[in-house]
């Protein structure tokens, strides 16, 4: 078991390294992406540009630049090329909003996704299944920024039920934190609830046909016990791995659309701004944060599987 965990963590570190190198190279290879040009402004003379290049180390070989930047990122001293601000502080400013969004929405979509998935599976082919299936497809098809705009207009401007925008830190005003986040939580959850309920439905229906389920029934176990202990435990596996990836992507700025309509000033908005300025260090930090979350949650999910299911442990 410990060998499995070790191997999984080493491969996770490898993916992280590959992602950081690739991101760095992509932003180096951008035509006209020379950061000295943007630091110096349009009127900079060649000698000024040369100074900037020397000062920031852009005249160094590319691998030296990469190692330098990574070192600064891990020291927490990395500074934005275009803003001159410490990126660590920036991230600390935007991360609470995104974490709050991810935790609340992640809980809601996991809970409701499983609930609707189980409901549609046990009523498969009947009207409740049909209604919920159509609803799930509508949820999957709804452009999230359009849904967010509708909620903001009808519940915010018209009905006045929800505050119009912004993020209130939990430590300042817990109730304000909750009321400002409830709409973004629900809006962000809609897509995932639809997706998860569909995946879980077909996963449960597949599992119901397995021999061991027939055996469990033949032993005279109650249907509830068969469903919860024997079927659901196995059917939840794909859901857990989806949840790990989706949750991690939201932390890494994947909820940018929800964040920007509700103006939460989260990681996603920071990412979009940094990308727009071609600010390599900021982009690298955000990408590493995302990749770290994705890889870490992926590893945790895999290890969880291995704990639950010895076949996975042995085969890999």
């Amino acid at each position: 078991m410990s060998r499995f965990i070790l191997r999984r963590l080493i491969s996770a570190a490898g993916v992280l390294l590959a992602i950081s190198v690739l991101t760095f190279l992509i932003f180096q290879a951008i035509p006209n992406g020379d950061p000295a040009l943007r630091l110096g402004g349009r009127l900079a003379t060649p000698s000024e540009l040369a100074n900037i290049r020397h000062e920031y180390g852009f005249d160094q070989p590319i691998y030296v630049q990469y190692v330098d930047t990574m070192e600064k990122i891990f020291n927490g001293t990395v500074v934005s090329y275009t803003q001159g601000i410490n990126i660590d502080e920036q991230i600390r400013r935007v991360l609470p909003a995104t974490l709050s969004l991810a935790l609340g929405a992640g809980f809601i979509w996991l809970f409701l996704g499983i609930l609707f998935g189980v409901l549609t599976a046990i009523t498969a082919g009947r009207w409740l299944d049909r209604v919920l299936t159509i609803l799930a497809l509508v949820g999957i098809s709804f452009p999230v920024f359009f849904l967010a705009a509708l909620v903001l207009y009808y519940l915010g401007f018209k009905a006045g039920i929800i505050p119009l925008s912004g993020y209130v830190p939990l430590t300042e005003d817990p109730w304000g934190w909750f009321t400002h986040l409830i709409a973004p939580w629900l809006v962000l959850s809609v897509l995932f609830i639809g997706l998860y309920s569909r995946v879980l439905r077909s996963s449960i229906l597949d599992t119901l046909g397995e021999d061991y389920v027939r055996t469990a029934r033949a032993k005279g176990l109650s249907e509830r016990r068969v469903l919860i202990v024997h079927v659901l435990r196995n059917s939840l596996i794909p859901i857990i791995s989806l949840w790990g990836l989706d949750f991690a992507q939201v932390i890494g700025g994947g909820a940018i659309l929800t964040e920007s309509v509700f103006n939460l000033h989260g990681v996603g908005q920071f990412a979009a701004e940094s990308i727009g300025r071609l600010d390599i260090p900021s982009v690298l930090v955000i990408v590493l944060l995302t990749a770290f979350a994705v890889v870490l949650l992926g590893a945790i999910v895999d290890i969880l599987y291995a704990v639950l299911d010895p076949r996975i442990r042995l085969s890999s």
């Binding site: 992509i26 920024f145 046909g209 994947g254 979009a272 990408v287 995302t290």
Partner: protein, 351 residues
Amino acid sequence: MATDPVIRGPAGELSGVISSEPAAVEGQVPPGLGPYQLAWRRLRRNRVALAFGALFVVIVVLCLLAPLYAKDVAHTTLAANHITEKIEVGGKSKEVVSLVGIPIGPTWHSRFLLGADKDGRDIAVRLLYGGRNSLEIGALATFITVILGVLLGTLAGYFGGLLDAILSRGFDVIWAYPPVILGIALGAVLNIDGITIGPIELQAGSLVIPIAIVGIVYIPYVAKPIRGLVLGLRQREFVDAARQQGLSHTRIMFGEILPNLASMIIVFLPLILANAILLEAALSYLGAGIQPPNPSWGTMISEGIREIPAAIHLTLVPGIMLLLTVLGINVFGDGVRDALDPRAKIRIGRR
């Protein structure tokens, strides 16, 4: 009740299931029909899926007719603004854009059917032209994604070894980025000054840029499952037989393995198309896709959200159109999947 036994088709992978669908579930099926004919029969009976498929086709046709609509119905062009004009609505004369800058809402008449935007342009006309862009990008991006996804997934799964390791890590890297963030990054890179790769020269604002971005982002979502399927097929007897006959790798991949991927590819097509259209809209909304004044549903929603709460129709019109289009594709695609893979539509206890 859920306590009843489950009827299900015999186990097997996606391709094998279709031909061995038991006649008992679907009534009397004449012998000798191929798997796709059977799937077509099942799809034909699914009225909901067909209706939504038809909805999508109607939207596509309407968008293709955009120039005709603009000229003969709305009497305007894509870019023409009527900001200072007045029109007759129900006997009253109304300004297209009021003095405080609020555009007129839907008139439900031939001119400004769905209202105007704040430059006095006809929303219905922009909606149809924008739809052409959104649908064109979606379709071409889907084409790129599916071709490259199937090709790379098949290569990785068939050859294994080092090639598989490299390609799979590549998929992992793309996979680790949230699609929208990756899209903006590519958009920022390509949209600054355009890009020149050998003989291909892309202008900033060219439609090719969003097509390429959306096409790249979803490649792993196709390539990974295809790779998994090929890994299984590679071990099968018919591939061994082909190898024994001395067929080349290329012929085995295209002649023996590819036909077995067909139903998975068919299931993927609508899924990728729907997601490509949504991603393009999201990128345009964020300013990393289609560049104004070129319309697309995403840019129209983005312009509309800025006018909330004064003129909600600017958001509603393109938003509902986008929703209907994607919903049409998704419901139809769901029907196609059910038709191709009857196991997915298991009925409980209805013998």
